[in-house]
Symmetry: C2
Amino acid sequence: MTVKENLRPGGRSARVQASVHKAVRELMAEMSRAEVTIPLIAGKAGVTPSTIYRRWGDLQELFADVAVDRLRPDMQPVDAGSGKADLEAWAEQYAEEMSSGPGREMIRDVLAAQAGANACKCAGFTRQQIGVIAERAKARGEVFPDVDRVMDQVVAPIMYRILFADVPDAARVRDLVARVMGATD
Amino acid sequence: MTVKENLRPGGRSARVQASVHKAVRELMAEMSRAEVTIPLIAGKAGVTPSTIYRRWGDLQELFADVAVDRLRPDMQPVDAGSGKADLEAWAEQYAEEMSSGPGREMIRDVLAAQAGANACKCAGFTRQQIGVIAERAKARGEVFPDVDRVMDQVVAPIMYRILFADVPDAARVRDLVARVMGATD
DNA sequence: TCGTAAAAGCAAATTCTTTGCGTTAATAGG
DNA sequence: CCTATTAACGCAAAGAATTTGCTTTTACGA
């Protein structure tokens, strides 16, 4: 049931994984999530259903695997001149991406999977992005809050709202950033 | 696919719902989640599978429905003498319950369902509990932070950690409470 | 009491999932 | 360079879950 982490780039396993992931992404784009089935994915990917069942176990694990891939940041946080501006820009984009339709579904896919590793990985991505902003701020000689505190006071509230309530708007995100940047202790 | 909200207490629908919920809870107690199937639940509940399929749609929606029921608080927050003590006691218990094995599974069940209403309802329960603590504090003449702020700075970080990372320990929870109670703005 | 509509039962058809076995392909050792 | 080994895949049949049309039951209101 476990998906191999380090596949040789040219190996057969890697090719299968790539074509299955691609098939999932394409099918998700053209139909609702509930209509996507493993036989359908297998057909589009050019593999047999049993291959998918054996490698991923079930649809949820496969979806989670694909979602983590798509949630991996594709670039470093933009440099907006100061730590606060960097964090503000990053947080606004994060909130927007994550609260979009596809964003919410990817998060749900990640959380729905039995293996907690995927969710941890996502939090790791986020933490790393904030780490970059923090390092940059410190290199400039600025004071910048601990990464853990930013996770607690900015990332967690955004994600909580997305998951359990409404979509956080830009003003609220700025407010969260202002609060964590304003704290002096 | 939608489950009726207000069922007549003695009606047939209410009886079916009760027996199905009971069957789900019992089966979850005696076997792993992946082994619980709709035909199994139907058998235990004394209904036919098609009844469940028609009322809930699929296993995830049914699980979410049961989970919301179980996440509903069964009592008011205990009075520990002061707003801070109340919040501390409540938050510690909340963190403990939610990060337990069954707690995590219930949260995942709620979030995995397509209908976002269940998740909202859970956040509503939490908000209401905090509201009680806030009212009590204000009745005592204490200053107490806004409920939204407590949600952002205490509840959200706890939930984020449970979902995406590790289990928050009591010290960290106390730290979150201390911070939100210390803020003066 | 009777009519009505919503919900449940039943059962057949369809679709998905599991599994045993043979085959293929990548890797390591000679 | 060639062969042994092993992990992964394809195939196909068996088993289980899901869907659906139709009938029957039940609660509620006229």
